[in-house]
Symmetry: C2
Subunit: 448 residues, 2 copies
């Protein structure tokens, strides 16, 4: 197996055994990038020398017996709105061209502390919103990779790095993960501090991870949990949830799922609807098809109200300086956001707690909700990053959500199954995801 | 000395010595109330039987050796927007007539845990805003007691109770304390949870206390510090600040003060301006007259923007139900608040942190700021509760502030000196206030 195609845990294992060096691993990833970058364009910034130097230092540290972290020697990509000291952070926007981060973001610092090698910055849609960057879908370069964490999803899907970080304000982790056929995970709002990351919409911005399997997702996400003074929403947990350990564990009883179509089901493409019917059939009595409480019918309005108002506030300086440079659609959103009243904004925000109280009831009976990650496979063309409809309710509620690449669309591109967990019960979500993944794959093998 | 005229600490001391019973103390306070209530009208609700029953229970507990709290047997009044189980909470508004609180607020529970006897509910201005209740100034019943914590200030000033709780959104603790000539203290925003208290403006609402001396203020406030899940702004301090202990302590060096006139100084009446010149002269090199940074010039706009927007949001149900019942001025504020944009609201809120960073610099050189509590003595008439101008900057910043009744106006009514401390350094503020109080009183004695 080529080094670049190893997952994080696999690579950690052979690095720890001394079977391979970090330098060899990084070199193989760089070769992979060199080979496919012109086609996929996942990277906003990459520096071979820097990556190799880090790898050599990693190997030296290991030889010297310096304590090695759980990600020692592992190459990771960072969405280009996340600061990594000395690298540019260009936010997918001309205004930030050449702007170098002076300090590490919380997550970059954590990754480095745990031994990871920051390979470079991955392409983001414009200012982490909707206007696409240059990245193409690794499965078919005529299709969008999704966004706004386009480069992170594509780089992991194209075996350029075993893991990458992204962010989700509406659907910016789960949708590109779905379109690119990788595992994407957005933990509970507040678990991963956003210090040093572009501030678009503080009520909604959430950090997420991309990997090629659930175990790697659990490991990578667990390394990022913490709190930071500058992110008032970050939660000071006494003990970080044991994502990796729990995700492996066998559930006390097989998990029970609720298939949730939402009021937007009519938007789901035929292949998506059929795929979910199939999964429901496979799961039999392990799944109930249930209707989401009607209070969720306005959730798309709530997320738009909050996002518009906050984007108008936090991108105000960008707008003032750059209204001729940023896209007309983002300008329009900012201008719309300027008109949102404080009352409407606050009332929308208050719905998060109420909607979670409804979800909490569901999680007495169900371990996870199953729902589409996107309306279907990655749409053709590069003008749009696709439709976030199926991500909005969970982004708004701040609940943990994961994409599993279990289905296929009509043209053979991946379709994601989104599993949604209870607030702060990220570990149970990953365990249930692991169970579902094994169950579906075993059934698929049986059919062969 | 009559029992009703004892301060909290004095009463605690003789109760603990067994020289007097809680029943005797409460009875004497009730007699005092009976004697003056028709003139002062400090109480929205009082129940002699309930108060006496609590006092008897307090005495029984003491005789049985049950653990007694630091406020064991002390009668306390609660502003009528603060829930005390079984008593009405009418919020100074017809809409809430006869509405009985089913549960204790956080502060009522704390008071009871520490042994205090809830005497009843004190009059609040309409919904803790500006339209006066029935209360009159104990020093001259033709003058306003200030508001919105009108009854709490008046009841303490009239020796009906040794302590009472109020709240301040703009100037609703410090101003009535100034007008009624008592000590009023509003600790740092977030130190006292507001669970179970009318929610007017969560960014600004702050609990405060009224007593007749600084020691009692320190004791009473210290009992209320804590955190509660339902008040997200309440701070989970590992250790509550030792207000009582520190307020007694001698400062390592005599404190240094900054006399701050603010951009609103022109509003201060002649007697106020003269009084502050006198204090500055008395303090000599212990005080500098300094100008507040020009960033504070808009603070009155900020507090209005935030308060209007939040009142429009949180009083929306009241407005919908009661627009014909509530005052036209409150209606107008709510209607104005509905038009505030989220962007303006968020930008105003963000100023708190910035302005505190400016104040924090000052507190390297100064222990407390000295500034008027109000523009002058309590205005004549009962149509208005007075002008909150001099309270707004400190309410907005959420810094601790205390009123000391050190000056007198032209008609002999009290004028308060407001001392302002650093965020989270409430103990130092009280120690400095204690020093200033002793210093000014000693100088006054010298003059005699």
């Amino acid at each position: 197996m080529a080094l670049h195609s190893l997952g994080i845990s696999e690579a950690v294992s052979i690095l720890n055994k001394g079977e391979v060096s970090a330098k060899e691993l990084v070199l193989d990833c760089l070769n992979r990038i060199d080979q496919f970058e012109s086609q996929i364009q996942a990277w906003a910034y990459i520096n071979h020398d820097y990556a190799l130097k880090q790898a050599q230092k990693s190997d030296t540290d290991r030889r010297k017996g310096k304590s090695t972290g759980p990600l020692h020697g592992i190459p990771i990509g960072l969405k280009d709105i996340i600061d990594s000291a000395g690298m540019p952070t260009e936010n997918g926007c001309e205004l930030f061209k050449g702007s170098i981060a002076r300090q590490d973001s919380f997550v970059a610092k954590r990754l480095k502390q745990h031994g990871a090698i920051i390979m470079g910055k991955t392409v983001t849609a414009e200012l982490a919103t909707f206007t696409p960057g240059k990245t193409r879908n690794p499965h078919n370069s005529g299709h969008t990779p999704g966004g706004s964490s386009s480069g992170s999803a594509a780089a992991v899907a194209a075996y350029m790095v075993p893991g990458a970080l992204g962010t989700q304000t509406n659907g910016s982790v789960i949708r590109p993960a779905s379109f690119c056929g990788v595992v994407g995970f957005k933990p509970t709002y507040g678990l991963i501090p956003r210090q040093g990351i572009l501030n678009q919409s503080p009520f909604l911005d959430q950090v997420g991870v991309f990997t090629r399997n659930i175990e790697d997702t659990a490991l990578l996400a667990e390394m990022l949990i913490g709190s930071h003074d500058e992110d008032k929403a970050s939660i000071n947990t006494a003990v970080a949830p044991a994502l990796l350990k729990t995700s492996h564990q066998q559930a006390p009883v097989p998990p029970k799922f609720a298939l949730i179509k939402t009021a937007a089901w009519y938007k789901a493409e035929t292949a998506t609807q059929a795929g979910f019917e199939q999964i429901a059939e496979l799961l039999g009595d392990r799944v109930d098809v249930i209707e989401l409480h009607s209070s969720f019918n306005q959730v798309w309005d709530y997320i738009q109200t909050v996002n518009d108002a906050e984007i108008a506030t936090y991108y105000d300086a960008i707008y003032q300086k750059g209204k001729d440079i940023i896209s007309t659609s983002l300008c329009a959103q900012i201008e719309r956001g300027r008109e949102v009243t404080a009352k409407l904004y606050l009332q929308a925000k208050h719905q998060r707690q109420y909607l979670n109280s409804i979800l909490n009831e569901l999680f007495f009976s169900y371990d996870a909700l199953i729902t589409p990650a996107a309306i279907g496979e990655a749409p053709k063309g590069l003008d749009s990053t696709g439709d976030p409809t199926f991500c909005a309710p969970w982004s708004f509620c701040g609940v943990p959500t994961i994409n599993l690449p279990l289905l296929e669309g009509e043209t053979g591109l991946p379709i994601g199954v989104q599993l949604v967990g209870q607030q702060y019960d990220d570990a149970r979500l990953l365990r249930s995801a692991n169970w579902l993944n094994q169950f579906v794959n075993a059934e698929a093998d049986n059919e062969k």
